[in-house]
Each structure stands twice: as structure tokens, then as C-alpha cells.
């Protein structure tokens, strides 16, 4: 343990209770980013503190309506920052274990905590929209990718055919049975079209993506049944990006996104996508 660690460990209890001075808080938080032991201790203290809170209170009437009124009326830009994909939300298919992100995550019981139930107006008439948090897995997780039914495949020859058949950079020829998704970005000029055939072969044709930096590349992500996976990396000179989706899971395809990442790609992306699009 470092001297710095020792200096601050005695403050962790007070920090967990928001009982330190602002300058101390800043220093501790900087330390917590680099010290999993102290971060774990703070989490434990907060768990204990939660028991000291007064849980016998009903939620105030009317507050939920105020919250609901402020919820986004339309899907905001796709989130690329990670979120857990829980056991309870995982697809049932045994060959497709959903993974939120790489790392240990405890299983989740389906047991809501006891306590008073707050009154909530039904949201049945408040239509919820569907978009997905992207939780990324990169090429480094190739084994997991394969297990999930995705695999980067060598489709160079077929891709060349697609490119030759393309009538415009943004147009991928496809038949009506193909899944086609338009990816758009903040800049109207840039975009892409992703097409997945009924055989599961996928193609992404992008246009006008800015040239990434020397140590950067583009990474393609796909969301299937709520699971976000890396589908490959490419640069701005790549005309067609090829990927493969398990044909049995095509109906679960929900969105595609492209982010700019550092070489050789990332396991978990935490940047906003450059372009993104959802299945209509």
C-alpha cells in the first residue's frame, strides 16, 4: 500500500458519509479511481449506511408525476457508455449468454426489497421508446464474440460484389427481406447503411467519416437482444465492413453504432458514437 493510501484510508468512513471537506473529497475521489481496495471499502460503508436510513416512509404523492413529466419524450442519442446486462434480462438462448461487459458480475436474484411501495401512476399511456445502451466488446474478446453467435468472417469476395453493386456510397442494394439500418450522426454528411441478409451476413457501407487520428480507428457495434458487441474495426478508407450474425438471432438485432476508438479497439466504449441507428 502506498503512503498516500495510508494517509487517506482513515478518512474513508467519513467520506462515505459525505462528512469530509471539499478538498479532501477531491483527493479521496482521485485516489479511489486508482485503488480498488479503498473503493470497495467505501462501497461497504455506504451499504451499511443505507441501513441507517429511514425506510418506513411513503414516497411523496405527486413527485412521480413530476419525474415522469421530465422524462425524455423521444429517444436521445444512443448511449455508448456501459451498463450492466442483467441475468434477469438475458435472452433465454443457452448458446447466447448475454454479457454486459467483461468482468465479474454477481448473479442477480429476482427479489425486490421489502419496504413501502410508493404510489406510481401507470405509464401504460406514456409510450416508452426503445433504444439501447451500448456495452462494448472488442476484438480482444473474440472468444466471447464467437460464443454469442457473432464472428468476423472473411467475406472479401462477396463484399467486393456488394461494393460494385452499390449505386451510391450511402446505398446498399438489398432485397426487401434484408434488414437495413441507416446510421446517422451529428454531421448530416456522414452516415452509413448496415444491411443484414437472411443468411446473417452483414455489411456496413459508410461515407464521409472523418479520418481518425494516427492511433485511432473506427469500431462497429451491434445490439442484439440487448447485448452490445463489437463487430469489428475499420478505418475511413474501408468501403465495406463485413460482419456475421447468427441467422437465428437476426430478429433480435436492435441497433448499430460506430465509435472512434484508440487502436486496436476497446473492450468497453465510453465515448459517444459517431453515427448510430436503430432498427425501425
Amino acid at each position: 500500500m502506498s503512503e498516500f493510501h495510508d494517509d487517506f484510508s482513515d478518512l474513508l468512513g467519513a467520506y462515505a458519509l459525505d462528512a469530509v471537506e471539499p478538498d479532501e473529497r477531491d483527493e479521496i475521489e482521485a485516489h479511489l479511481h486508482t485503488c480498488p481496495w479503498c473503493a470497495a471499502e467505501v462501497a461497504e460503508h455506504r451499504e451499511v449506511a443505507a441501513f441507517l436510513s429511514h425506510s418506513g416512509t411513503d414516497a411523496p404523492a405527486g413527485v412521480w408525476d413530476r419525474i415522469a413529466a421530465e422524462l425524455s419524450p423521444a429517444a436521445p442519442p444512443m448511449r455508448l457508455t456501459l451498463s450492466p446486462v442483467g441475468e434477469a434480462d438475458r435472452p433465454a438462448s443457452p448458446e447466447a449468454p448475454a454479457l454486459g461487459r467483461i468482468g465479474d458480475r454477481p448473479p442477480e436474484p429476482a427479489a425486490p426489497e421489502a419496504g413501502p411501495i410508493a404510489p406510481v401512476t401507470s405509464l401504460a399511456d406514456r409510450r416508452s421508446f426503445r433504444t439501447r445502451t451500448l456495452v462494448a466488446m472488442a476484438s480482444a474478446a473474440a472468444v466471447l464474440v464467437a460464443a454469442l453467435g457473432f464472428a468476423a468472417v472473411d467475406q472479401a469476395r462477396e463484399a467486393e460484389q456488394w461494393r460494385e453493386r452499390a449505386t451510391a456510397p450511402t446505398t446498399v442494394p438489398s432485397n426487401p427481406d434484408d434488414l437495413s439500418v441507416q446510421l446517422t450522426g451529428a454531421d448530416d454528411d456522414m452516415g452509413a447503411t448496415a444491411v443484414v441478409t437472411d443468411s446473417g451476413r452483414g455489411y456496413l457501407v459508410s461515407h464521409d467519416l472523418p479520418t481518425p487520428g494516427d492511433d485511432e480507428l473506427y469500431q462497429l457495434w451491434g445490439v442484439v437482444d440487448g447485448v452490445v458487441l463489437s463487430l469489428g474495426t475499420f478505418d475511413d478508407e474501408t468501403d465495406v465492413v463485413n460482419f456475421q450474425i447468427d441467422p437465428k438471432r437476426i430478429d433480435g438485432v436492435e441497433a448499430f453504432a460506430v465509435s472512434k476508438e484508440r487502436m486496436p479497439g476497446v473492450v468497453v466504449s465510453e465515448v459517444a458514437p459517431v453515427i448510430a441507428g436503430e432498427v425501425a
Partner: protein
């Protein structure tokens, strides 16, 4: 999953991250009462506490990624958010006078202590039992810091103790309380189990 009522808290947050408003409503049903209770306890003002509740759940909606189920339960996360925001408000200049008045009023109350604070907790029996086993010095330091919203330096001044002693007592008290809670059967981080 269609039955949100049976979904784990972590599963709810996944659904929230997908902009499922019903999942947020379910999280609100489960935890808004605790969040409101803590904020009202700290701020002693219903309207401010309601604002905190609104802020905490909107923050969960806008930044669900901030919750990491590997770090603890959703309940403790929401309460930590609530506590931090309430304390910020409490320590603002505009709240100072109101807080002083509140403290004076509470000082006049007899028998007011941490055990009473949790008297009607759903899990009150074993939590109260665990708290009762804490040394008085640790209990008082935790109470003033957590439920009083004081910094450890303020707690030291209030108790006439050295600052180093107080911060150590808060830490050791929380550790002792954790040990006691486990011993009496409380399930820490219960939505992780």
C-alpha cells in the same frame, strides 16, 4: 422481461438504460420512500426533500451507467446520491440558518439518538440490535455525520474531541456496525446476493 415487479434491481437499471419508463417507475416504487425519508430527515423540509427525490431518480434515468451493481445495491446507491445532494444543500449558505434552527429544536428533544432514527425501519429489529452494540462514542459520531449532515471536523467540535479521533471512530464504527449487521442476519447488498 415483462414482469418488472419480479425483476432484480440490477435488471431494472438495465431496463432503465434502455429508456424503459416503467422500469424507472418500479425502481421508484421500491426505493423512493427511503430516499425521501433520508432527505427529509437531513433537510427537515418536505418541499426540499421532494426536490431531492425528483433529482435522484431523474439522475438514475439520465445516467444509469453510474450505478455499478458490482459496487453495491441500488438502494445504497440511491441513498448515497440522496445523501450527498442533501448535504450539499444543507451546507449551502441559504440553508445554514434553517439548519441551526433545526438543530436547536432537536437538541431540545429528549432521548433522540441513532436508535430512534431507525426505530421504524422495516428491518428495525436486527438493525436496532446491531446499533445497540456499538460503543456510544462511535454511534454518536456516525449519527452526527450521517443523519446530522456534519463534517467530521464539525463533529469533532461538537463533541470536543480531536478530529483524528472522530474520523477514526466513524470508520471503525461503520466496520463494527457491518460486523454486527451480518451477525444479526441483515443482508448487506441484498439485491446482489
Amino acid at each position: 422481461m415483462s414482469n418488472l415487479g419480479e425483476m432484480s434491481d440490477a435488471g431494472l437499471v438495465v431496463a432503465i438504460s434502455r429508456y424503459n419508463q416503467d422500469a424507472l417507475a418500479e425502481a421508484y416504487r421500491r426505493h423512493a420512500g427511503a430516499v425521501f425519508g433520508l432527505s427529509r430527515r437531513l433537510l427537515a423540509e418536505v418541499s426540499l426533500a421532494e426536490e431531492i427525490v425528483q433529482e435522484v431518480f431523474l439522475r438514475l434515468w439520465n445516467d444509469p451507467d453510474k450505478f455499478d451493481p458490482g459496487r453495491g445495491s441500488l438502494r445504497s446507491y440511491l441513498l448515497a446520491q440522496c445523501h450527498g445532494r442533501s448535504v450539499d444543500l444543507l451546507r449551502s449558505e441559504s440553508s445554514r440558518r434553517r439548519r441551526e434552527e433545526r438543530d436547536l429544536r432537536r437538541t431540545a428533544e429528549s432521548g433522540y439518538d441513532l436508535e430512534r432514527e431507525v426505530w421504524d425501519l422495516t428491518v428495525a429489529d436486527h438493525v436496532r440490535e446491531a446499533i445497540a452494540k456499538l460503543p456510544e462514542s462511535e454511534r454518536e459520531a456516525i449519527r452526527l455525520a450521517y443523519l446530522g449532515g456534519h463534517t467530521y471536523r464539525e463533529v469533532a467540535a461538537l463533541l470536543g474531541e480531536p478530529e483524528g479521533t472522530v474520523k477514526s471512530r466513524i470508520r471503525s464504527g461503520l466496520k463494527h456496525l457491518r460486523t454486527e449487521l451480518v451477525a444479526v442476519g441483515a443482508t448487506l447488498g441484498e439485491d446482489l446476493s
